[in-house]
Structures are given as C-alpha cells and as structure tokens.
C-alpha cells in the first residue's frame, strides 16, 4: 500500500535537511512548528546539537496561531530573540503546520527582514519530503544570499557543498574531507562558516558530495562561472575494507547517490562484476546508469535486489528488515538520514 511502512521507520524529513545544512553557520533558526518538529530535528536528526550550542528555536505555534495566521506575532517573537542572539541572518523553516495553513513565506520573509534588518532565508519545507530537498534548498538560498561578490579565483581553494551529517554520517565529516582534499578545502556547513560562504566566488572549483549540494553548485557556476563536479572523497573504512571480497559479484549499493557512485567506482576497481545504485533520495541523471533505480515504497528494495540479481548489498543495516529472503552478503553502510546511526557507532 502506498505510503505504508510496516518494517521501516520514516527517513529524515526536509525540515531536518534544511536545519542540518545551516546548523553551524550562526543564524537564528526558527522552525515554524508547535514544538514537536523541533524536538525531532534537534533530538534525533542533528547529532551536533548535543555538543555544540546553536540558536535553534521553535516558533511554539498553538492552535489559534495557526487558525488566525498570527504572522505579526511570530515576527515580534523573532525580533525579540534576535535582540538576544544578534545573529547575522535568520532562517525560517517550514513544517506541516504552515503547509496546511498555506503560510506565505515570501511575505513572512520580507516582514522579518524589515523588522530584524538582517537577511532572512525562508526554506519552505513541509515535513512530507525527504531531507535532501530541504538541505538542497537551504544551501541554494544560503549561497544566493551571501555569495554575492566576485573575488579573484584562488587556485588552491576548493569548495565542498552538500556536506551534512545526514548524508556523510559522521561528526568528523568536515575534518575527513579536509584531510582528503587538503587545507584549501572549504567544507560549507561543516567547518567553513559564513565568511567562507561570502568568499565562495574565489573557489577554483566546487566539489558536490551529495545531491543536496547540486542546486547551490549550479547557482555558483551560473553566477561566477565556478566549475563543479560530483565527488565523495570520504567513505567509511569498514565499507572500504569489505570491497575486495566482492570481486566477481553483482553488488547493489543503497545510500545517497553520490556516495554510491564513489562506491561503484571503487567496487569496479576491485573487480566487482556489476554495480547497481538504488536510492530513496534525489538522483541526478549525470551519475545514473541504466541499472540504477529510484526507490519509493518499502517493498521496492526487495524488488530491486531480485531484478538485479544481487549477490551482495551495501546499505544501512536497517534495510535487512525489508530483505528477509536475501541470502547474499549484506555489508552495513550507515546512513544517518535513514537510521539515525553515525559511522562512529558502526559495529
């Protein structure tokens, strides 16, 4: 039945993606909800929240706020909080409540901007879409708002867009990417802050590590001519260690598409017979091969495994629940947006 999950729990929603993309950048983040969404986003989808103080707030909407559409009251609350936080920008993140009452985010953004005198990014997330959509929109709005000035290109500076714990599954993702790419790497949202965003036009190129970074990279290409390419320079060690034993096998990789593409390259390098990529999340045509599949429903993965004739599956171990009859090798590749499990906790 469409939309019915009997064995899996829901994956991270778009609101979580939006907050994750902007979490480290010092903005005043307002989640337009009654409280529960904020609790889920911070308490479950944002592992940095437990270790890093950040200005994330719930609008604390109540039934009459929603029924009467008290936007002015919300703006007043934001102005008051901004007097405490003094953030360089404000983020408005949507949830199902504003989606149902059709909040005019454009108007809310303008009103908030006028009253706070700082840029406001309004991410019209709804809570019904996957995290990658929210993260993508947040990265795009961020660069659109702050990467305005054309600076001389610095050859050694590389931008990394699309990095969040939701996709990369580790709190050390920023460090690992800088280790892999050199000190000139600016990992936006995981180490590189708002100043780095403002200087994005100086990048010699941008590496996009997840589909969530594509829209922002395209915007920078259009605005400054900065070339970009997909890349996933970091894959967890336990996964890499397992690859040599998959020589000659048909392997199905399930994760975010860019990680799977990097994995495919390595698997084929190790002699895997064939590799198919499956994802429940956005997939760009540039990295898509004919055997790849976008998944929608819980039963789709089992069908994909059967159709591809996979000998091995590389995926977050929660997916074992939807592959009860699978007899091949299952290699765990944690995906935080799926299971809420960091690679640090990989057993």
């Amino acid at each position: 039945m469409k939309g019915l999950l009997k064995r899996l729990a829901p994956f991270a929603p778009d609101t979580s993606g939006a907050v994750s993309a902007l979490f480290e950048l010092g903005g005043l983040v307002v989640i337009c909800d009654a409280g529960g969404c904020t609790g889920n986003i911070c308490g479950f989808d944002e592992p940095r929240w437990f270790t890093m103080r950040s200005a994330v707030f719930s609008a604390g909407m109540r039934d009459m706020d929603a029924i009467l559409g008290r936007d002015a009251q919300l703006v007043e609350k934001i102005v008051s909080a901004q007097q405490t936080v003094k953030a360089p920008f404000v983020v408005l993140a949507g949830t199902p409540v504003p989606a149902v009452i059709a909040t005019d985010f454009k108007a809310l953004r303008r009103l908030t901007e006028k009253k706070t005198c700082v840029p406001v990014l309004a991410v019209e997330s709804t809570g019904v879409n996957h995290y990658d959509r929210g993260a993508s929109r947040a990265f795009e709005l961020l660069f659109d708002a702050f990467a305005a000035e054309q600076l001389p290109v610095e050859k050694e500076t590389v931008g990394v867009i699309g990095a969040t714990p939701l996709d990369l599954g580790t709190l050390r993702a920023g460090d690992l990417l800088r280790e892999a790419l050199g000190p000139g790497a600016q990992v936006y949202g995981m180490g590189a802050g708002l100043d780095a965003v403002r200087r994005a036009s100086a990048n010699a190129c941008n590496l996009v590590v997840s589909p969530a970074g594509v829209a922002a990279a395209q915007l920078l290409e259009k605005r400054f001519g900065t070339p970009w390419r997909p890349a996933c320079p970091y894959l967890p060690e336990p996964v890499l260690e397992a690859l040599p034993r998959l020589k000659g096998k048909r392997v199905l990789a399930v994760h975010q598409q860019f990680a799977c593409a990097a994995l495919r390259e390595k698997l084929l390098g190790c002699g895997a017979a064939a590799v198919a990529v499956c994802s429940w999340f956005s997939m760009t045509d540039a990295l898509r091969e004919p055997q790849d599949r976008r998944l929608a429903e819980e039963d789709d993965l089992a069908a994909a495994v059967t159709a591809f004739g996979a000998d091995a599956v590389i995926a977050d171990r929660v997916f074992e629940k939807v592959l009860p009859g699978f007899k091949g090798e299952f290699i765990d590749f944690p995906h935080f947006a799926v299971s809420g499990r960091l690679t640090e906790r990989q057993e």
Binding site: G3, A9, G43, W49, K77, I78, A99, G127
Partner: protein, 436 residues
C-alpha cells in the same frame, strides 16, 4: 535580571503574582529555545514518554502513526532493534495533497486491515496516532476509528498527538491517558481491587503505597505498566476505585467514573516528608482506613538526615526534567535545610503556591525558564551550586555531581524521598554524575 540569561528572584516573582509573569517565563510570548534541556518539552517522545510511546502502554497493542514523515522520525529511536517497542509501530505517511485535502482518511481502514493481515495474529487493539495536520483539518478521528474497527474487526482507538493544543484544556498527554483506558469495558466491581493511574511505567518496587493499600484490605493493585497481556489490562475495569497519581490522568479517571462507575481519589507526588504524611492521613480518611506509615516515614527521614550529615547543607540547581515538580522539590530541599540558588521550571497556576513558599524561605532563588531564548546566554553569571537534580540542570552544569532523576521506575511517597537522597548520596560520594 542580569545582562545574560533571564531569571527572576523568587521573592520578586511571588510579589508580582501569577497574573503578572514576566514575558520570559510565558512560553507563548517568545520563541522556544531548543537545547538539550528542552528536549522533553519539545519532543516528549524523543526522551521518555510522549503520545506515541504512551499510546502503546496498552499491552499487545500496535500503533499506526498517520502523519507526515517528520512526525514519525524520532520513533525509530523507540523502534530500534531490540527495543521493547520494536515491532509495534507502523506508519501511513502523508504527502502534500493529503495534508491539504485530507484524502488520507479513506486509506486508514485499509492500512489497519493490512497491518492486521501482516502480523502473525491480529493485535487486540490498534492505536491510531494523528498529529497537528489532522488537528488543523478538523478530522473526526473517532469516526475514522469506527470505520477501521468495522474493516479490520479489532478495536481501534485514536491518540491525539496535537502539539498545537499543548497549553489547551486537553493537552496531548491528558488525551492519551484517556485513550489508553478507553478500551476498558464495564465489569462487576471487586471491593478489594484498585487501579493506580497516571504513569506509563510502574511505581518503584519499594513504594509504601502498595503496603498501605494492603493495610486497607486491598488485594489487587493494578497499574497499566504491570499488565503483561491485554486480558490483564481488561481486568482493570473491576476496580473499586482509582488512585490518580498524576494530574494529567484526572480526565481519564473522570471518564472511567462516567463509563464504568469507578470513582477516584488523587494523590500528589511530593518530596516533603510532612506533606507526604498529611496526604496519607487524608487519603486514609477518604477511604475509611487508618494507615500505619511510621516505619516508612522513619526510613525516609533517615535517608534525608544521613545525606545532610554526610554532605552538609549544600546548594542544589533544580531542573524540571525530572520525576516531580521542580518547585515542590526545591521547597522540600529548602525545608530540609539545603540551599537552592536556582530553579529551571515552568511556572503555572498549579505550582505557583510552591513559588510563594519558596519566596518566604529563599527569596534570592533564581527562577528561569529553559524555553527562554536568553538561555542561550546561560553561563558565567550563573549562581554557585554544589550539585544538580534534573536532566536539564545537568545540561547547564555538566561538571557538577548530581542526578537526572528521570528514570523509568516512578518515585513516589516516602520511598521516593528515600530513593532521591540515596541516589544523591551515591552521586556526590563518587563526585561524578549519578543515576540517569
């Protein structure tokens, strides 16, 4: 108020009165700051009991969450492999059209049928959890549940996870308590049977309330969390009376009185020995019994005295994410001779009486709300404390010894007081964090 985070001294707050709460103590007048100290407020289900976990207090039941994906996200923490609730959650995810048109409502009976088909045996009940979306759509969930029952042949009950109505007359945690007892059907009464209502986990094993009720001739003391099967749960309908141990169960108790003719009496969780003694005396009088609680009192008093002897008149930071009311607990600590330089809590009509008494004993005690945006600035100008009580207080004082005091076994009465000071003694003796 200092330049940093907001606090108000108890003396000043008592003088202003409940009608003149400062803006920073009124959650509906500012944004809600999200920190680990507010997790229990923002998402009770993420830690402890929210509507989702509470709804599954009905033994052997399963839950279908009908909501956008964001509402079910944290449930995977509850439904993790090996978790007690592992296989009991199902989800019907709504898309954008659903949340605007409500078309998902016609799919719910089919979803319930499919769940029942999937399970090795049909569950004795299906709890349907709905969220803010249906609150705004004005969904008649009782009607949808009746249709589900007709379609699947099992009782289906709504659980309203309406965060939007948190400060309303019937907030979600009040509604869900009614829901979990709504499956009880009339049965002949048994004079020696009593239900304890209010918590979703059992009282601490050594709670004297069990012994006192037995002194009064009660033989069957039932709590929903101790019912292992649905059949055992149904036996709760034979109770002679209910003892309400948490104010959020009052509405459920009234419903049981109306539907099943079970009257109720309410007891409050208190940390003040003398108040506990008075409450038991009144309770005994109400049910026509005379309790001999001397030995329990003495044991708890000994625990308090022992702690004071060993650790002196130390200063506590008291939070609200704990098993109790922070203001009542703080007042009890003050009466035992300890200091309470700060309290993190939500001031309301129900607990302002404690604030006024705190003001008399310790007018300088600072009162703050975890939810205030200014808590982002909590830090250097905080008052000196020796220990913390409460998981939120731990967040502000990670280097102090103390206890979270929010465990699953519910502390109550003299036994609760004794356990509190035992745990504090353990934590302070080791100089590290105590019971989580």
């Amino acid at each position: 108020m200092a330049d940093g985070y907001f606090y108000i001294k108890a003396g000043e707050l008592a003088e202003r009165g409940i009608k003149d709460l400062p803006r920073e103590l009124a959650g509906n007048r500012h944004l809600i700051y999200s920190s680990p100290a507010t997790l229990a407020f923002n998402s009770p289900g993420a830690q402890g009991f929210g509507v989702k976990r509470a709804g599954l207090a009905v033994p052997e039941s399963v839950m279908l969450l009908v909501a956008p994906r964001c509402c079910g996200r944290n449930t995977s923490a509850l439904a993790s492999p090996g978790g007690a609730l592992g296989e009991r959650f199902f989800y019907l995810l709504l898309d954008e059209t659903d949340i605007v048109t409500g078309r998902h409502l016609v799919r719910i009976p089919e979803a319930v049928k499919e769940i029942c088909r999937t399970l090795p045996a049909p569950p004795p009940a299906v709890m349907i959890c709905i969220t803010c979306v249906d609150a705004l759509l004005g969904t008649d969930m009782e009607r949808v549940c009746r249709r589900c029952t007709e379609a699947a042949g099992v009782p289906v009950v709504p659980c309203y996870m309406y965060a939007l109505t948190r400060e309303g007359r019937l907030p979600p945690m009040v509604q869900v308590r009614k829901s979990v007892y709504s499956l009880l059907e009339p049965r002949p009464k048994k004079a020696d049977a009593v239900n304890l209502l209010g918590f979703f986990t059992p009282l601490q094993e050594d709670c004297e309330l069990y012994a006192l009720l037995r002194q009064a001739g009660v033989k069957k003391i039932r709590e929903i969390a101790r019912c292992r099967t649905f059949a055992e749960y149904l036996e709760m309908a034979e109770a002679n009376f209910d003892v309400v141990l948490h104010h959020e169960a009052r509405y459920a108790a009234l419903d049981l009185e109306k539907r099943l003719g079970i009257p109720s009496v309410e007891l409050v969780r208190l940390y003040d020995l003398e108040k506990v003694r008075r409450q038991y005396a009144l309770f005994g009088a109400a049910i026509g019994a005379s309790f001999d609680d001397g030995s329990f009192y003495a044991r708890a008093e000994g625990a308090v005295r022992n702690f004071a002897d060993r650790h002196g008149k130390i200063a506590f930071s008291v939070g609200e994410w704990l098993n109790g009311d922070p203001f009542e607990l703080a007042l009890a600590l003050l009466r035992y001779g300890f200091a309470v330089p700060e309290i993190f809590g939500t001031v309301g009509e129900g607990n302002f009486v404690w604030v006024k008494k705190i003001a008399q004993l310790s007018p300088e005690t600072r009162i703050s709300s975890n939810l205030s945006p200014t808590m982002l600035l909590y830090g250097e100008d905080a008052p000196a404390c020796d220990a913390f009580i409460g998981r939120d207080a731990r967040f502000y004082h990670p280097h102090l010894p103390g206890i979270d005091w929010n465990g699953e076994a519910q502390p109550f009465g003299y036994a609760g007081i004794a356990a509190l000071f035992r745990e504090l003694d353990r934590a302070l003796s080791s100089g590290k964090e105590g019971a989580r």
